[in-house]
């Protein structure tokens, strides 16, 4: 079974330490949500896993083969039609044009896009449509690991819920591992199997909340209640700056000895 293991991850921008002592495991089929206030290094951590940043120090074992990422913005190529944007990852895998087109059309129908939309350029489409296309671009390559950097945070609640359920459907069908970033606890409760709380200065993992309830039985009222419970948790309140106080950091993470670099 594929998995992602991270041990003793530390990252610095110049002399500022932005991530410290991060230990994280993600197994196939699991959805892990990273929550925390803005500026706690969530995005940096995601970019490191996506291979966009090289950490200052880390042991990373990533057994997932196909990886896709959705960013905060749709980030579509403005000079490509919706269809070509969806098929971008397939083109990189040398899939012939005809097959790309067929797959893009198939996935577009499940995402609620019409054939007419597929011929349009991104600027001709609404923000919601662009997000659907970005989701299609990520799902079409059938990734084992899907990284989500708050991709739906700018969308209205109805559209958000619709895209969540489309996403959940794909995740369950293919047992994709998902690492999602969010500062919205309710979103995390709705989608995740485990929630990791992060705090800033430097970015650290504060603790983990496991949600055992199966996704199919998570009703809206249950989600509200669970979110309220989490919001009442003292550590979470302090982490988000809602209450004053000191954080009891997860001592377990300190049992891993930090690597010592070569002496000059």
């Amino acid at each position: 079974m594929s998995a992602l293991h991270i041990r003793n991850l530390q990252h610095k921008y110049a002399l500022t330490e932005v991530l410290s002592q991060i230990n994280l495991d993600l197994l196939a089929g699991e959805t892990l949500a990273l929550v925390g206030p803005s500026g706690c290094g969530k995005s940096t951590l995601l970019h490191i896993i996506a291979g966009l940043l090289t950490p200052t120090e880390a042991l990373i074992e990533n057994q997932f083969r196909g990886m896709a990422c959705m960013f905060q913005e749709p980030r579509l190529l403005p000079w490509k039609t919706a269809e070509d944007n969806i098929g971008l990852g397939l083109k990189a895998l040398n899939i012939p044009k005809q097959a790309r087109r067929q797959q893009a059309r198939d996935i577009a129908t499940t995402l609620g896009l019409t054939l007419k939309d597929l011929d349009k350029y991104p600027h001709e489409l609404s923000g919601g449509m662009q997000s659907r296309i970005a989701l299609g671009r990520a799902l079409i390559i059938k990734p084992n690991l899907l990284l989500l950097d708050e991709p739906f945070s700018a969308l209205d609640i109805g559209l958000k819920l619709e895209l969540y359920s489309l996403l959940r459907q794909h995740i369950t069908e293919r047992s994709t591992a998902v690492l999602m970033i969010t500062h919205d606890l309710m979103e995390a409760v709705r989608l995740a199997d485990r929630i990791l709380m992060m705090v800033p200065e430097p970015g650290r993992l504060l603790g983990e909340f496991v949600i055992t309830r199966p996704h199919s039985t998570r009703t809206d009222s249950w989600i509200y209640q669970k979110t309220a419970e989490l919001m009442a948790n003292e550590q979470v309140r302090i982490g988000f700056g809602l209450s004053a106080g000191n954080l009891a950091l997860n001592q377990a993470s300190h049992t891993h000895k930090q690597h010592v670099g070569c002496a000059l």
């Binding site: 996506a50 966009l52 960013f71 011929d119």
Partner: protein, 264 residues
């Protein structure tokens, strides 16, 4: 499919927009006629007189061969500058160091008067084809180089991240990410270079060769023949307008059809 469906109306609307250009040119001719009547035919012959003279030059077989000679020199110098400038500019744009090193050189080269290059070229290459070709090349090179460098530097980092996450091979990064973005910087630079190339080739021929439009201008100047001089000027401008609006502009419109407002 949509591209072909849009081709005919787009071409027609483009041709229709020619009326505006024609009106502007005719307005200019009217002002010219007014000035001609004020100053007299010896100083400034009117547009009709000049057109008749141009017709005469075409009929007696002098205009076309000279234009072909100048056109060939422009084409060689310009194509060389477009290829070398675009490639070097892109390479320079990929790295911050080379861009910083190149910037003052571009300013220096742009500031160097073409007439100075011409004198040097006459010393180096003598009075042959090589002198105007070299002068055109060296005058157009920094314009194209700066455009290509600017284009490469300004590519959105967000799109680069998309290319990296979806593992686009290098040739796809070039054709699907860099070149479409670069085109919007290269085309204006190419059009400026085209204008410069004709100006420079005529100047170079005036001083250094025995054939071409520039040499013909030198003869008409010696004969104090203002009408013939203006006829040659009109011929050169005609070629310039034709190249820009019949060749470069349609290519630009096709390549940038994804832009807001272009394809409508």
């Amino acid at each position: 499919m949509t591209h072909f469906r849009n081709l005919v109306p787009n071409t027609l609307s483009y041709l229709w927009s020619g009326w505006g250009a024609l009106a502007s040119l005719l307005l200019f001719c009217a002002a010219w006629q007014l000035a001609a009547e004020y100053y007299g035919a010896l100083v400034l012959p009117g547009p009709i007189e000049v057109m008749v003279q141009l017709q005469h030059l075409i009929n007696n077989g002098t205009a076309v061969p000279e234009l072909v000679i100048s056109g060939r020199r422009t084409l060689y110098g310009l194509s060389l500058a477009l290829v070398v400038g675009s490639l070097l500019g892109m390479l320079a744009g990929f790295s911050i160091t080379t861009s910083m090193l190149a910037r003052p050189l571009v300013t220096l080269l742009l500031g160097m008067p073409p007439i100075a290059w011409l004198v040097l070229a006459m010393l180096w290459f003598g009075l042959g084809d090589a002198t105007p070709v070299f002068t055109v090349f060296v005058a157009c090179l920094p314009i194209v180089f700066a455009g290509a460098m600017q284009g490469t530097r300004t590519l959105d980092n967000h799109l680069k991240a998309v290319a990296q996450v979806y593992r686009l091979p290098w040739h796809m990064r070039l054709t699907d990410i860099y070149l479409p973005h670069l085109a919007s910087y290269l085309f204006p630079a190419w059009i400026t270079a085209l204008g410069t190339s004709w100006k420079v080739v005529v100047m170079a021929e005036l001083l250094s060769t025995a054939d071409g439009v520039g040499a013909a201008l030198a003869v008409s100047r010696a004969q104090l023949d203002t009408a013939t001089t203006l006829a040659w000027v009109i011929a050169v401008l005609g070629v310039l307008l034709a190249t820009e609006y019949l060749v470069l502009e349609p290519i630009k419109r096709h390549v940038e059809r994804w832009r807001v407002g272009v394809s409508q």
